[in-house]
């Protein structure tokens, strides 16, 4: 399968709702495979502290994060901080509201996608992650092809030089060889 993980992928989920986070985390581990390492955080602040010491590939970030801690920063503020310090991280925003203006705002700030919470949210997030995995696998393959191509070119150059040296400096050994 193309979307199978060929290397370890680290994913952080940030949601103040333990049940939603558990449902999503379990689903992704089952659908993406054992190379997906999931870490869960109930506030954006704890996630940022972890990112400072260990940068994940993907962060799935809830928009509202203040139901348990009223002073907790919201998803937009956390998104801004992640993008400012770790623009290489892919952020997928989650929200209970299907609002186009919020979706546009999060994408403008650097989120890759915006998923509305509900029965199909886990499926959508898993599809997005699979597309990221496929793109990374293709990039890896392309890198491998390029390396293979240059190795082949190098071998051909060395062989050519070898033949030239042989015919130039050791003509007695090449009498029986074709020109």
């Amino acid at each position: 399968m193309k979307s199978e993980l060929k290397r370890k992928l680290e994913l952080f989920i940030v949601d103040d709702d333990a049940l939603s986070m558990s449902v999503l985390g379990d689903y992704l581990k089952k659908k993406i495979g054992s190379n997906l390492e999931v870490h869960e955080f109930d506030t954006g602040e704890t996630c940022l502290a972890k990112i400072a010491e260990r940068t994940p590939h993907i962060v799935v970030l809830d928009y509202h994060l203040d139901s348990k801690t009223q002073t907790a920063a919201n998803g937009i503020d956390i998104l801004k901080k992640i993008m400012a310090h770790h623009p290489e991280v892919t952020v997928i925003m989650l929200s209970g509201q299907a609002k186009i203006d919020i979706a546009i705002e999060t994408m403008r700030l650097g989120a890759r996608d915006y998923v509305v919470k509900g029965e199909t949210a886990s499926l959508h997030v898993s599809q997005i992650i699979k597309s990221i995995v496929e793109a990374e696998n293709q990039a890896d393959e392309l890198r491998n092809y390029k390396v293979g191509f240059w190795i082949a070119i190098g071998i051909m150059i060395l062989l050519t030089i070898g033949v030239i040296v042989l015919y130039t400096f050791f003509p007695e050994h090449t009498k029986h060889l074709p020109m």
Partner: protein, 110 residues
């Protein structure tokens, strides 16, 4: 009384994994009772923004437990607070939502 919960979504979602279904129902049960008490307290104290926040966070729970009516009512309450409309009927709606949660606790514990 007609059942207000349905585990059909969870059965489908987990492909019949009983362990995961029980885990999610257990998590719902452990938070729902507390949240229902919090709804009443916040409504009584007119702390509507906090009420909106907790009602909002419970919407996925209602989805997982197949509580479509409760989900719709939660959305109505949330919209009412955000738009500051029909505030006079809010206590009645919150009581209705609490009653639904209480019924769900009875159904899911059996």
């Amino acid at each position: 009384m007609e059942s207000i919960t349905s585990l059909e979504f969870l059965k489908d979602f987990t492909e019949g994994d009983e362990e995961r279904i029980n885990k999610y129902v257990g998590m719902y049960l452990s938070s729902a009772e507390e949240n229902a008490k919090e709804f009443k307290k916040l409504m009584d104290e007119q702390r509507l923004d906090e009420l909106r926040s907790i009602v909002h966070s419970m919407k996925p729970h209602f989805d997982f437990m197949g509580m479509k009516t409760a989900r719709a009512l939660a959305e109505t309450i949330e919209a009412s607070i955000i738009e500051n409309t029909s505030i006079e009927s809010l206590p009645e709606k919150v009581s209705e939502l609490i009653a639904m949660i209480e019924q769900s606790l009875v159904e899911l514990r059996h």
